[in-house]
Amino acid sequence: MTLPREHPVARSFIDTHYRQIRLLIVLWMTAVLLGAFSFGGHWLNIPRISILEHTARNLYFHVPMWFTMMALTVVSAWHSMRCLRSGDAVRDIRARSAAQVAVVFGLLGLLTGSVWAHYTWYEGTSIWWNFDPKQTMATVQVLIYGAYFALRSALDDSAKRARISAVYNVFAFATVPFLLYVLPRQMESLHPGAEGNPAFSEITHPLMRLVFYPAVIGFIGVGWLLYHQRVRARKLEQQLENRQYTPL
């Protein structure tokens, strides 16, 4: 039995081709994973650098996590801004969903970075955590979203929650340039591109870029997929809530 549609909504390209897009992302990521873990032979066998050795493959996972988190942060702030302009509830759903997925990628980025650093930078020590500027920046970003969710749970009325939390989200986003550009300049870093360290392009073998760039696109795709699923689920939830009870 199918329920009648009360509000027929315009379906976008993404809505009508969702399954195909999802399949494309899954296949893409499968190819990336195969490339990332191809050992032996000459095919995509990465150059061996002392200390780094095969941990260099973490480049395919750790760095795209950050790109995905930053992309989702921008998406979240953008929708919060639009939510303040229009007061549209869907904008709030989008901002919140993007923030949630951004936190997941932020935590994964911290985890992959922490493990990587332990076995390379801090080889032979017991250090797992160091206040490297990029690490600090990411931690602060995750903390900001933690505060954002806590603020949301302290607001009962849904329209007020959308507006007030959007203000906090935009306000926090205004300080991001300081986290990204000013703060790292004032601290010493072991990350590539920092003072005294070679830039990313100088130390990366062309072979690795063959996997790295597709991995960036793939992880952003996965991030978008998770975000889109959450938005769809929330929209449906809201439609169910708004549907008036009619006896069958």
Binding site: T136, L155, K160, F171
Partner: protein, 226 residues
């Protein structure tokens, strides 16, 4: 413009007058600051603390004091049911600027006492007093700039509790790092080169303060009006 200035001044004067009548915030904050400082001094064991750690401890106490004292700015209006009157008679930017000025003045007063007590209790020697004063003033302005908008936000929530420190601390990280750096230089740096050495930290603090205050002015109306 003249109208706006008069409105801002009226909000500031109202808050100052209320404060002078009860002296609640000032008394509470001064007692808090002194007891917190005593705890810090006892825990640190005054004789062997590195100047960087001293600077860090000072800013931790400042941060906690501000998050305790400034959180009340808008909650008071809601509790006394005066928020509606304020909304009727003034515009959002007047209220924001007035409250910001009040927060700045009260925290600056408390910080002045705090630093004096800090220098005496931890027997700190200041190499460059001018730099310390500028750092404190800039840091206080950035602190109250960020806190005023957040105080307005938590006044709209049903359960405020420990919300303000949680919202505030991650946002203030850039300011805090620069302020600790500049304070550290003012305690140790040579008298001649201190300004040059602290220039980037001071620039970061100025930029942060500017960004935070402009963003607050733009966003305040969304919080203040229903």
């Amino acid at each position: 413009m003249k109208h706006w200035l008069r409105g801002t001044w009226a909000v500031l004067r109202k808050d100052l007058r209320l404060e002078l009548r009860s002296r609640y915030v000032l008394n509470a904050l001064l007692v808090f600051v002194l007891s917190a400082l005593l705890v810090v001094a006892l825990a640190a064991g005054a004789d062997s603390v590195d100047t960087r750690i001293q600077a860090g401890l000072l800013w931790i106490v400042i941060l906690f004091t501000a998050s305790l004292g400034l959180g009340r700015a808008f909650v008071v209006e809601e509790e006394c049911n005066t928020a509606l009157l304020l909304r009727l008679h003034t515009t959002g930017s007047m209220v924001y600027t007035g409250k910001l000025a009040y927060s700045f003045l009260s925290v600056l007063t408390v910080n002045g006492v705090l630093v004096m007590a800090f220098l005496v209790l931890l027997s700190v020697e200041v190499a460059h007093a001018g730099l310390l004063v500028v750092t404190l003033a800039l840091g206080t302005l950035g602190l109250s700039g960020a806190t005023t908008l957040l105080a307005a936000i938590i006044a709209r929530t049903a359960r405020s509790g420990p919300l303000l420190p949680m919202l505030l601390f991650p946002l203030l990280m850039p300011l805090l790092l620069a302020a600790v750096e500049a304070t550290h230089l003012s305690l140790t740096g040579s008298v001649a080169g201190a300004w040059n050495a602290a220039a980037s930290a001071l620039a970061a603090m100025t930029g942060f303060t500017g960004v935070v205050i402009s963003a607050s002015v733009l966003l305040f109306d969304h919080v203040w009006h229903d």
